[in-house]
């Protein structure tokens, strides 16, 4: 099963219009007036900023997990119809989130099942996705027994299985050594390029941002740096 065959990915575009956010009614603004338009065409976008600048918050707003204080976030399907953010995004997170006592296969298959797959087809696609990120040998191993790098690749495999056109990645190499980071970056960018998805990654790892098509800085506002 090739990367294309693991999931039939739709197309979508993302539009942020004058998005501003602050915590609490009187808190300081984390960022203001963010405008951004992206399409999923195998392109990768990096948001590079120091810690505490609101990168993860911006990603949460893009993914529909956080409601912005001001502004609008719009997801559109290929035909121009509004789409649900959750159905457009797959997540790869900084922390190695996984169901610890469940196997790597089950951790990936849950994405397929959450998208309506049956048990059989979900496990089949999950196995293919794990093989695609080099974890074909550990499908039946409990997640808690996997290394940090393997867990991060499980997260990438989850994104691969998802039919979502965008992958949102939050510091995907933040807790990994350089060797493991390289493998995760390769798996992540490989899945984006070959699958025709879009990638929005927030990071301060230049090994990732250097390989992205566009790089933005975030310090109070979003600004393209390349």
């Amino acid at each position: 099963m090739t990367t294309d065959e693991i999931a039939t990915v739709g197309s979508a575009s993302l539009h942020l219009s004058s998005v501003s956010h602050r915590f609490g009614r009187d808190g300081p603004w984390v960022f203001r007036g963010v405008d951004l338009s992206l399409s999923a065409e195998g392109k990768a976008v990096a948001v590079v900023a120091p810690s505490g600048s609101g990168k993860t918050t911006l990603l949460g707003i893009i993914g529909g997990l956080i409601r912005p204080t001001e502004g609008e976030v719009t997801w559109l399907t290929e035909s121009g119809r509004p789409a649900d953010a959750r159905s457009c995004c797959a997540w790869v997170l900084q922390t190695t989130n996984a169901l610890g006592r469940r196997t790597a296969l089950e951790n990936v298959a849950m994405v397929a099942m959450a998208e309506g797959d049956g048990l059989g087809s979900g496990r089949e696609r999950a196995a293919a996705a794990l093989a695609a990120v080099g974890l074909g040998e550990v499908v039946d191993r409990e997640a808690r027994k996997l290394s940090g790098g393997e867990l991060q690749r499980v997260a990438v495999a989850r994104a691969l299985v998802s039919k979502a056109p965008f992958i949102l990645a939050d510091e995907p190499t933040g807790q990994l050594d350089s060797g493991t980071s390289a493998a995760v970056i390769e798996a992540l960018l490989g899945s984006v390029r070959s699958g025709g998805r879009g990638l929005v990654v927030v990071t301060h790892d230049h090994r990732i941002s250097d390989r992205c098509d566009r790089v933005y800085g975030l310090e109070g506002h979003l600004e393209e740096t390349t």
């Binding site: 989130n97 994405v111 979502a164």
Partner: protein, 361 residues
């Protein structure tokens, strides 16, 4: 884009089976909570039922008809005895006559001499074999005067001179029937008018029999159908009152809350796990269903253990079926609480930031 029902059920089952200590914790709390509630409630209700003294005296399961007060036209012993053929009647019998007599061997000592119909033994568990006739003594008489099987106490003031009564047995209990205390009890055929009629009603039929005016079947004269209660309402502290004011009446709430608290503690440890489900597209409603499915599986797993505990309890204690039913009723309420609280808990969980949950390690 949503979970199929079979996948959600499978996911819930896997989470339970792979849950390790947290599964044992919730499972244990359900087993303990439900078992203790069923046994405690069942035992207390059972206590009411076997407490014949209070039941007979306070209008419990033994219905009593007395001529003049409850049955103005008198009581026919034979008709009373035949009441056992009615649905819901366990046993029926009457005190035919009673009088005080003086024992020849203890001049000046007067005791009761009571003639009863055979059915009365079934009402008060007197320990008389069915069909047995003859004279029996209350165990207190045996201790006081040395009367027992084979003794032949004489009575000095019997009509026609001294009369002897060979004792054929000792009553095992006279609890609940004041008329038989410290008495020579003669079991006689149920004939003629009686002094009192006692009916042991099945617990689940007691109220209905009382409301149906069982006494209507008691009068001697067939032409009069009396309509009055055997034991008037409000004449004592009834078993209904005792049931309503029992100490165990809130036990299902206490244990229900305990299980809810344990479930909530366990759910808090799963914050990042639940956020992970949300991040892969699981809606709050689906997450609620997943939690409900998990608890249904947990309850399903707990049922055989609970059933095992209750089988042992029933085998050892032989409770009334009605007592068990009351206990099971309260136990089932706990399971309803356990499942019903989940949507609320899931709503609380859903209101928290998924991003925070995902970062929570």
């Amino acid at each position: 884009m949503s979970w199929r029902a079979d996948c959600l059920a499978h996911e819930g089952a896997r989470n339970v089976l792979r849950g390790g200590f947290r599964t044992l914790l919730v499972l244990g709390s359900i087993v303990i909570g439900v078992s203790v509630t069923v046994i405690a409630v069942g035992s207390q209700v059972d206590g009411f039922m076997v407490d014949e003294a209070s039941l007979a005296g306070e209008g419990g399961f033994v219905l009593r008809a007395l001529p003049g007060s409850n049955s103005p036209d008198g009581i026919d012993s034979a008709r009373c005895e035949n009441l056992r053929s009615q649905d819901g009647v366990v046993a029926a019998g009457s005190v035919v006559t009673s009088d005080f007599i003086e024992l020849a061997s203890f001049p000046g000592t007067r005791i009761r001499k009571v003639d009863v119909s055979p059915g009365l033994s079934g009402v008060f568990h007197l320990g008389i074999d069915p069909g047995a006739m003859g004279v029996f003594v209350d165990s207190s008489l045996r201790e006081e005067f040395g009367l027992g099987v084979g003794s032949v106490p004489g009575v000095v003031d019997a009509p026609g001179g001294e009369e002897s009564f060979p004792v054929v047995g000792v009553l095992t209990s006279t609890q609940g029937v004041e008329e038989l205390r410290r008495a020579l009890v003669a079991v006689v055929p149920p004939e003629g008018p009686g002094e009192a009629c006692f009916v042991l009603a099945r617990p689940d039929r007691y109220e209905a029999l009382r409301d149906a005016d069982l006494v209507a079947l008691l009068p001697v004269d067939n032409s009069i159908a009396l309509v009055s209660e055997v034991v008037p309402r409000g004449s004592g502290f009834s078993i209904g009152d005792r049931y309503r004011s029992r100490r165990t009446r809130h036990l299902w709430i206490v244990f229900g809350m305990m299980i809810v608290a344990v479930s909530e503690l366990v759910r808090r440890t799963r914050r990042s796990e639940l956020a992970l489900y949300r991040s892969v597209g699981t809606s709050p409603v689906e997450l609620t269903w997943l939690l409900i499915v998990e608890n249904l599986w947990l309850s399903f797993l707990a049922l055989p253990v609970i059933a095992g505990v209750l089988v042992i309890w029933v085998a050892v204690n032989h409770p009334f079926r009605a007592s068990l039913a009351h206990g099971l009723h309260d136990g089932a309420l706990i399971l309803v609480v356990v499942v019903a609280q989940l949507p609320l808990m899931a709503a609380v969980a859903g209101s928290r930031s998924v991003m925070d949950g995902l970062k929570d390690r």
